[in-house]
Amino acid sequence: MTDKPVVIVGGGPAGLIAATAAAEQGANVILVDREKHAGGILNQCIHTGFGLAFYKEELTGPEFAERAAASALVKGVKFMNETSVLSVSGKTVSVINEHGVSDIDAGAVVLCTGCRERPRGALHIPGTRPAGVYTAGLAQKLVNIAGFLPGKRIVILGSGDIGLIMARRLTLEGAEVLAVVEVMPAPGGLRRNIVQCLDDFGIPLYLSHTVTDIRGKNRVEGVTIAKVDEKFNPVEGTSFDLDCDTLLLSVGLIPENEIAETAGAEIDPASNGMLVDENLMTTVDGVFGCGNALHVHNLVDDLAVEAAQAGKNAALYAAGHVFAPCTIPVVNDGAFGNVVPARVSGTQPAVIRFRVRRPQKGAAVSVGTFSKRFAHLQPNTMESVTVPADAFTDKKEAVLCLNNTL
């Protein structure tokens, strides 16, 4: 057993829970986060809906973060706050803080750097580029942490959960939310958020619609909205204008993997997440990954299970444990948006997490000789199957298949 520490990069819920799990294995754990307070994105998610499975109680984001940080502290995790990780090379973690740059020689590393919002540039909306266009997550931070209302009359493009949560928050804080506009025929966010964030306040949701124009010179003055056809092209004669001073974009999150790249960890080009094996180890020996940096989770409770596994395995690795080689690639039959992990060993049960590309009713998900039926599968919801070791009969590849059973 070495006494080299397990270094956790990122102090959001994934980092806090991974750190706690590693410490529970007896490891010496250092958690590095660039913010003053741990908790990551949860500190700006002041709504309830966290922890129902993990803490058996419905908590707000900051409450969940405080509990997770308190558990980590109790287990002896050492916090290095207001410290940024610059790079990871082998298992050497370079950090910078007010004392300057230093290196930590780690026994194992867990990358929990979260995700970022798809920037505005990724969207191709014609029209002017006035002030008053924000990503939904930035607006959330402005309202909930800084106490600044970004506008009075607001249109939200995209019906992901953050957009829906912000529609309610802005309404409660005194703004008028005129519309939520979604290009897809189904909402991106959870059904409960449609009910409690839009329906509760009579906010209209325009499905199969998009923003085709932004008006205004210095500040947003209005947007044009139109219906779209199956190919997402605006349908002529369906457009209408709304006068607004703010447009929020809630168009998706992508894993944040700058640090993983410095380590040389392979990134999945489709999801932008790190490629990991069934032990949540990246393609770099001793470097693990979990949370939104791996794939964007809907629920912190699911993320907690994954993070605990990553933390535990990192501690085992640092203590000298050798995992069975993961030589069987997990192959997506094309029906899935993303699949984690990328490789399994076939020697122990493996949890495979996935999202489908299209909504499914009555479908079976199978790998090797294992199959599980699902009544419903939605692209906006991450699901998982636990596949027993003996189901991996083909040692060359494990194809994850979606079969309609209706």
């Binding site: 309830t48 409450e63 800084a146 106490g147 959870l190 509760d200």
Partner: protein, 123 residues
């Protein structure tokens, strides 16, 4: 006279569609809920819906400008906007501890306003 209402349960992320049968203004039975927590929710939803309010109060001398708050129990849905506005008119002094009662009987029906994050004093 009996009528049926369909409500989406928001108690957990499953979002069950629950059918509530109402007789003479009373919710008498429910179906479609995957667990028992859905029943009281669905019944209240057709008679007098309630929600836990999360909101913000201003913080004086704190590390952040705002402190997130929540009601200690659900409040009437129709009161949400007015209560959020009321919260925003409140300023409390830092430091605050998560769980501190900032205003007791905040809604006039017994729900207290609780701090939902611990925030230290500036400096």
């Amino acid at each position: 006279m009996s009528e049926q209402h369909v409500v989406t349960c928001t108690v957990c992320p499953n979002g069950c569609e629950i059918t509530v049968t109402v007789e003479n203004g009373q919710a008498v039975s429910v179906s479609g809920n995957r667990c028992k927590r859905g029943e009281p929710y669905a019944k209240a939803e057709v008679v007098n819906p309630v929600r836990t309010l999360t909101a913000l109060v201003r913080l004086n001398g704190g590390e952040c400008a705002m402190c997130p708050v929540k009601t200690s129990r659900p409040v009437f849905k129709k009161d949400l906007k007015a209560l959020a506005e009321k919260a925003l008119s409140i300023t409390v002094d830092a430091p605050v501890r998560c769980g501190d009662v900032l205003v007791s009987d905040f809604d006039g029906n017994g729900a207290d306003l609780l701090a939902a994050r611990s925030i230290g004093a500036k400096g």
